[in-house]
Structures are given as C-alpha cells and as structure tokens.
C-alpha cells in the first residue's frame, strides 16, 4: 500500500482509518485509489493492502 507516495509498512484497513490517522476532516478532502476518486460512502470499505492511495486535503483560499 502506498499513501501519498510513501510505502506503508503496515497497510491500513480502510480509508477512514487513514483519514483519522492523518487527523483530517472527512469533508475537507478528496481521496483517490489507483487513480480514481473514491466516494465518501466507500471510505469504510475494506482495502486489500495493494492500493496506491492519494489523500488531498483542501486549504482555505480562492
């Protein structure tokens, strides 16, 4: 499992877990798994440990 370019020694089981670990709020980000945007309703789905995951956190300004 790779998250934001970093190989994970211990893969996470769900996207929710990753977000929680990163101390981010679910409604301020977008998550991609293997290049596809993941809907928030799927954040609780089990991951298989081989995913390439990207978590993009939005910031204020625009």
């Amino acid at each position: 499992m790779i998250i934001n370019g970093q190989v994970q020694e211990q893969p996470y089981s769900t996207v929710l877990q990753i977000i929680s670990e990163m101390n981010l709020a679910e409604n301020t980000l977008v998550v991609l798994i293997n290049g596809q945007i993941v809907e928030a309703k799927d954040y609780q789905k089990a991951l298989n440990g081989t995913e390439i995951i990207e978590v993009i956190s939005f910031v204020t300004g625009g």
Binding site: I37, E39, I56, S57, F58, G61, G62
Partner: protein
C-alpha cells in the same frame, strides 16, 4: 490569389504587399495591421490564405469586424471551439473573477456566474472588481466587467448559495466547472458531488502567502479533474491572499481549459 481582409474573402494579384492592398482597397487611416495573428509594422508581401486585419485603431469599428478583431491576436483555429464552450464559475472571488476574465479574453463567450455575495473593500487587492463596485452583487459587477471586454459574451448570472443539496443541479451540463470556492468544505463538496460528471472539473488549492511562482503547479488527478495551486498554503493569521499568487493560480486554471480545448481541436478539427 485569395486572402481574407477584415474577415471577408478577397482576390488579389500575386506578390501584392500590404501597402498596395490598402491603397487598392482605398482603406482610409489604417494604423493597425495584423496578419495571421501577428502585428505587422513593416510592409509585407501577402501569401494565399493570409488573414489580414487592417483598421483604424482610433475608431470603434462596428459589427462583425470588431467582434472578430477582439481575438485577432489569438490562435485563429480555436475561435469556433472557444465560442461553443460552456463554463460555470462557482464563486466569483479571487479565483472565479480572474478565471472568468482570462477565459473571456481568450474567446470563451458562454459563462454562468454563481455567487451570492457583494463586492467589499477587502476584495479589491486581488479580485477583478473596482472601487466604485463596492456594495454591489459580484455576479452583476463581474458581468459588467466581462461585457466591457467583450460585449458579445453570453452570461447567466445566478445569485445562489450553493450547498450539498443543490450543487449537483447547478453544475450539470457544462464543458468546464471551475472551483472558485474559498473553503475546504466547499472544494471537497464539489469534487465529491455528481453534478459535474461529464465535464472537466478544475480545482484551486493553495495560494496564500508569497512564494516562488514555480510552486504554483497544475496537477492532473484523473482524466477529467485537475487541481492548480501549491497544494498546501492556506490562509492563516498574517498570511493572506496576494494578487500575484491568486492570479498565478487563476492563470493556470484558465490555461488548462484552453489547453484542453486546443488539444481537442488539434485531434478533431471542426
């Protein structure tokens, strides 16, 4: 041989120069000459299919000539594609107002502007508004400013506060959806909603403070989602929003739109 002079087809003799053409056609007071998108100050021997604009720049020429002359310096093969492109601007602040300006200057004429707020004095350091517009609705002011650039622009102005219940309906049916929101909540809302599917979504993320321009980048997230910005610098106390950084991000967003249209035209010319 045939050329196009002031947007009309014209047959001229071989090896005719611009000066000869102006004399021949009895064009009075020509002081602006653009040939194939390039400003020409020297005499020039014309070639078949050259596109020549020769006008008096001190006069406001009416009709079709002025309409097309607005984009005489553009890549001419993009004119039709740009005119046919529909864009919605979600939020008419620093990003939204500047992206709208750049798109209109590039030749896009169909824009929907969505915002519920008025212009306030703190906006003027970076948003495309003027001092005398303070207190007026942004959609009206931006509309006026865009029409002052191109009177032919077709605008839909919506005074709407977007939220999770209505965002999908307001973002459906466009070629490009522009994130001009200023909060992480709304940026996340748009990308995670369904209305924009079938369009390209261009997001803005990270533009506060002052840093080298090279840190403002465009990233492709998926085949139809791009994000422009430095990715990390949000507004904090004493780290605000400067025109130079905001317009860098807005430029990258507008540039990506024009690039996508250009690539499509190269592959499937109209």
């Amino acid at each position: 041989m045939e050329i196009i002079l002031n947007y009309s087809h014209l047959n001229i003799s071989e090896k005719m120069t611009i000066k000869q053409l102006i004399e021949d056609e009895q064009l009075a007071a020509v002081n602006l000459i653009v040939v194939n998108g390039v400003l020409e100050n020297e005499d020039y021997e014309l070639k078949a299919n050259d596109e020549v604009l020769a006008i008096d720049k001190h006069k406001l020429v009416d009709g079709e000539i002025i309409k097309r002359a607005l984009f005489a310096r553009n890549n001419s093969y993009l004119v039709t594609a740009l005119k046919q492109t529909k864009v919605v601007i979600l939020g008419c602040g620093g990003i939204g107002s500047n992206v709208a300006r750049l798109l209109v200057q590039s030749g896009i004429e169909q824009l929907t502007l969505i915002d519920y707020d008025v212009v306030d004095p703190t906006n003027l350091n970076r948003q495309f508004y003027t001092y005398n517009q303070i207190g007026s609705y942004k959609i009206d002011c931006l509309g006026d400013n865009l029409q002052a650039i191109n009177p032919n622009v077709k605008l839909t102005k919506l005074n709407v506060h977007l939220d999770k219940d209505n965002i999908a309906s307001y973002t459906a049916g466009y070629d490009f959806v522009i994130d001009g929101f200023d909060t992480p909540l709304m940026k996340s809302l748009i990308v995670n909603s369904s209305g924009w599917h079938g369009s390209y979504l261009i997001l803005a993320n990270g533009m506060a403070g002052i840093k080298p321009a090279s840190e403002i980048v465009t990233r492709k997230l998926t085949d139809d989602v791009y994000v422009c910005g430095d990715g990390s610098n949000g507004v904090k106390p004493r780290i605000g929003l400067m025109a130079t950084q905001v317009t860098l991000v807005a430029s990258q967003m507008a540039n990506k739109i024009i690039e996508i249209i250009n690539d499509r035209e190269k592959n499937e010319p109209r």
